[in-house]
Symmetry: C2
Amino acid sequence: MDKTLEDQNLKLNKIIAIIGGGLIGQAWSVVFLRAGFKVHIFDTDKNVLNNLKISVTAKLKELASFGLMQQDLVSKVIENLSVYDELEAAVNNSNYVQECGPENLEIKSALTKKIDKFTPDRVPIGSSTSGIPSSLYAAEVKGRNRCLVVHPINPPHLIPAVEIVPSKWTDSSISSKVAEIISAADQTPIMLDKEIEGFVVNRLQGALLSEAFRLLTDGVASYEAIDKAVSEGLGMRWSFMGPFETIHLNAPGGVAQYIKRYGSMYHKMFENQKVEDDWSVALDQGLDKQLCKTHPISNLEQSWKERDQNIMRSLVHKHGTSK
Amino acid sequence: MDKTLEDQNLKLNKIIAIIGGGLIGQAWSVVFLRAGFKVHIFDTDKNVLNNLKISVTAKLKELASFGLMQQDLVSKVIENLSVYDELEAAVNNSNYVQECGPENLEIKSALTKKIDKFTPDRVPIGSSTSGIPSSLYAAEVKGRNRCLVVHPINPPHLIPAVEIVPSKWTDSSISSKVAEIISAADQTPIMLDKEIEGFVVNRLQGALLSEAFRLLTDGVASYEAIDKAVSEGLGMRWSFMGPFETIHLNAPGGVAQYIKRYGSMYHKMFENQKVEDDWSVALDQGLDKQLCKTHPISNLEQSWKERDQNIMRSLVHKHGTSK
């Protein structure tokens, strides 16, 4: 038995409970099934449950068609997906719970209490939330020391980065256990050492977006020019090197020299920055209409498909195929 | 004769004068030679001139080895490179001048005056400067209406984006002509509609870097975690879609819905932003030492080589080979 199969068999004994069968829950199912875990997925909506296997199978097949998983494993791993209309049954015997409920503080608090009640001791309970820290939604949960945010990036089954955000109550052993599970699922854990609004990924994206909106609404450049400055410029480096590594390689003396040479230039750029920025001004100026020329709302599903295919090709280029 | 060769023969009659034979001048030579232009390169340093053909040939061969230009064209196009130790001779008969002098206002002003004096009428004079707008260095140049910034991204022969930044004096026909030349050189023109400190690319990079430094020095995450949030997250989308296209595809109703849903979330993230940010604090905290573990200064040339090879593989993945 080769190492890969052995690893997979080890993982097969581990059960991941996914709470919520929407797009995010489906994507997490793909992630864990692909890596050889058993997945118990819960939803209250019978229609959602009935369609789950079909949509998850379609995503697995697409991965296989790009060489991102072995073709013959698709039918095997889909056998490891079980659907549940009772939460208790789904989390029972699980080794990790990934909650994918609605982005609403009260609903998430109540849901987490319920999950906590039925989940075996010491099993981590992660939430896919992009905006509600666990110090808020888990404050009154009995097992708040095992609750934390485990935030995927869209599309979750294709983008490796996953943010792990503990609250002040989260046991560090729980955070480490989640990082191990995320790594075992072939995703990349991004560990935060403390809670912050927006976490790291959306703060970095937000900082760049804020500047992009300012440049657009101030008439410095068209949205196409700004988009290309990233897609044909900055993004080509950032798809395999982070911002720090990039600047370390952009001065002959490394990052210290870079900061000495360019720090004040960047500082000067932003010293008179407007704090007030209302992105909807860009809509008044026609951004929505322009973007809809290339990607009409009625055809967004096709645009998503093309985006996902581009990411899959990037993954093959970065990490090779499984064939 | 197929279209490619016909195009190349057309370009062969066009002469690009490159002023300065340093790393940027060499990279521009590679760009224009690869696309079939004649290149006249000027430098005052005999050593630089003597080594030019060797280093440019090495870069062309590397492109060919990755399938980014035809192998048998390398020896042909290198014949189109001529070196000059007199500026007048280099710009004589040129169709476009790309100045790659030092980043110093006085030197650049004096150099541009000299170029303007000897360059045929109506021929655009672009500067590779990353920080000095043409309204400053060209203010007292007689032909300031044909001067503008034409700023490449490092490494210039591999990253397609090139910023074109006219001053208030630059004729719009000159800007358009430069955009045509940049496109003909198989690069991607990023047209700015007005001057702004740092242009577009460095402002976008600076906005993201400022946030990255804040997160690092505030102890939110390690530099490795922040770097991976980009290289295994945001950057994987941004390598083929700009920030606006990305958010347009991140809400079922497109960008208008995205702004409605998430605009206030982003706004809240940054409303209490510190304006003061001193990047050198990160150095005091050990960033330099950490980055030098992976990329020691003594070995940066090897790190650059690996970065360039990664970008070349990305280019093959994005645009295919020339084979």
